[in-house]
Assembly symmetry: C2
């Protein structure tokens, strides 16, 4: 499909990304020339979304290797880059997966620069293919609902942005949606705003607009009401980390939508590249670290000011009020209808996951 990618290389062999904090109002491209640039891009959420974080970290290692060679630095410089990038975000497991993959490739290589460049590129291409396949497997779910509704619009609710902007192309949850739209199936997406950072209203609405997909923005409070009134045919969300038992860490608030889906017999799907599987842990609630972010993300809301047209942050509480800002929550496997992966669809359970991924047996 896509009209654009979220990360790309330049002629002088550096890396560029979109500053996603400025979307949908401004299209700003940021050049990453050092691993610190990549680290900062992840930390400050210039880039976000588990697969894109992984790809950015991989290129961060490439940039460190390049700097080491060009500046004749000690190899420990690259070790520092690994440590720094590993610490840039805590929840998304793709970050660690991508860094492990880079580490292994470098360990087995003598031509570090070529290896790092090629492996980062490979991680990007693999993500694109993985997302495409998630769409191939997810599409029949939408098709079936459309058939059941005799071609009437299929209403899909999503939370946060697990779209192409969080990946490279296609996205995870958007891949079946884009493929359904390409096939002529009538689809409408309810987009959760996703406070505090508004990835839904800023990013999901943006990419659905660019791809011509009918959608309606709602506040995070609304999904339950819509489900009670039969206005949601399915929920589909992404994940930053899925445990061996099928527990799913995703953007804060996902759990509430899963509860509402269960209460109203609305199927609740999680779309994931297998790189977000963390087969080393079982209990998502106790074992997945949940990032706590700056309280000002909650105390302020950011957008394009009505009076000036400039991007502005507005304080939405008394000056002295403090806030808590948990980035993710965990949806227990019992609330997840199915996992949609690049290898197919499975139950959110150890048995289900192992059927598709027997290498973890």
């Amino acid at each position: 499909m896509s009209k654009f990618r979220t990360i790309w290389t330049t002629e002088d062999r550096f890396v560029e990304v979109i500053d996603q904090r400025k979307l949908p109002h401004e299209w700003v491209v940021v050049k990453l020339e050092t691993y610190e640039d990549a680290e900062l891009a992840i930390k400050e959420m210039t880039v976000r979304g588990a697969p894109l974080i992984g790809a950015t970290a991989a290129y961060g290692i490439y940039l460190a290797v390049r700097e080491m060679i060009e500046e004749e630095l000690d190899p420990s410089f690259v070790d520092e880059a690994f440590s720094a990038l590993r610490a840039s975000r805590p929840t998304a497991v793709n970050l660690f997966w991508a860094l492990d993959k880079m580490q292994k490739a470098l360990d087995e290589s003598t031509d570090f620069l070529t290896t790092a460049w090629d492996m980062a590129g490979q991680i990007v291409e693999e993500d694109i293919e993985t997302c495409r396949m998630i769409g191939v497997h997810g599409l029949p779910i939408i098709e079936e609902i459309s058939n059941r509704k005799k071609g009437e619009t299929v209403n899909i609710l999503t939370h946060c942005n697990a779209g192409m902007l969080g990946c490279i192309e296609w996205g995870t949850i958007t891949s079946p949606i884009y493929q359904a739209v390409q096939k002529g199936i009538k689809v409408h997406v309810w987009v959760d705003e996703t406070r505090p950072r508004n990835q839904g209203s800023n990013l999901t609405c943006y990419e659905l607009t660019r791809h011509g997909v009918d959608h309606t923005l709602i506040v995070d409070n609304t999904g339950g009401h819509l489900m009670q009134h039969g206005q949601v045919d399915m929920v589909i969300v992404g994940t930053d980390r899925t445990t061996r038992s099928g527990d799913v860490a995703n953007k804060i608030g996902t759990y509430l939508k899963a509860l509402a889906a269960k209460d109203n017999q609305v199927p609740f799907y999680v779309a994931l590249p297998s790189t977000t599987l963390d087969m080393t842990i079982r209990d998502g609630l106790t074992e997945i670290p949940i990032e706590e972010r700056n309280q000002d993300e909650v105390r302020y809301s950011t957008g394009k000011a009505q009076s000036t047209g400039k991007i502005e942050s507005v304080l939405i509480c008394p000056e002295t009020t403090k806030a808590a800002n948990y980035g993710f929550d965990v949806t227990p496997a019992r609330l997840v209808s199915k996992l949609i992966t690049e290898r197919g669809i499975c139950d959110a359970s150890e048995e289900g996951i192992l059927e598709l991924f027997p290498e973890y047996r």
Copy 2:
């Protein structure tokens, strides 16, 4: 208790209210001199909260009667005022209750002006006493949790503003909280931001700050996560209308918190003056009309601009993205632990309500 009231009369016998849309950043008093002023104040949410809407409508009728007499208008002028005020908001039943009370009093009176003035004043005083009694009955619930926790802080989560700002004094959900704090019980309140209009961050945080109650602002997505991790001892919310069977209409998103409370065995209380009971209907989901408001409340967020210090609205989605804005949702009685009323505590069921309010048998 209170440091201020939300509606009061002036020496020249008009009415003043706080423009709650400007809180917490600015304290602006609005004088209501005609029933149209009162109607607009309700419609545009200068005032909000079921009891305060009722009180404002009651004074709106007084203002209509006054204008009729002073301008020697036809009595149909007051009928028009009744119709206009009745149509000013659809969900809160107190509005209709207050207007019915005014109508009845006027029907039985010959001195319309005195009757309207007195009855509006009585509605205000009754609300204050009602709210105080909700606190008297709710306080032991907080006390018991405090005792069970051996004096450790009691963590209370609330959604929207069912505080004194939505009433006249005390508030509904804040009445037990203020009374607990006065008694020296350690209380901490998790305040849901409550998008799209941010009554939590704007109003609840404001009044808790003014009354020195420890609180933390969270986005609407966070409550489930906190409950999963034992950080919420009880949830307490208000209601705009409660049916005969105990279904509760309240600010959009309340239902999601009730689901999370149930899933984590956290007690879920609804505090209500009996004026919000609607004993004429049973099924909240099909019988309570849910207000749909302007989509720009969702597309924009409003607060104090960081760069200018002025109140500003910022667009949080692409220019072309449309939004849906449902004001309320219905929490089924099965998810409500208890109702806290001015007459005591009861089950959220017809039997429970009738035990306290046998006049509806």
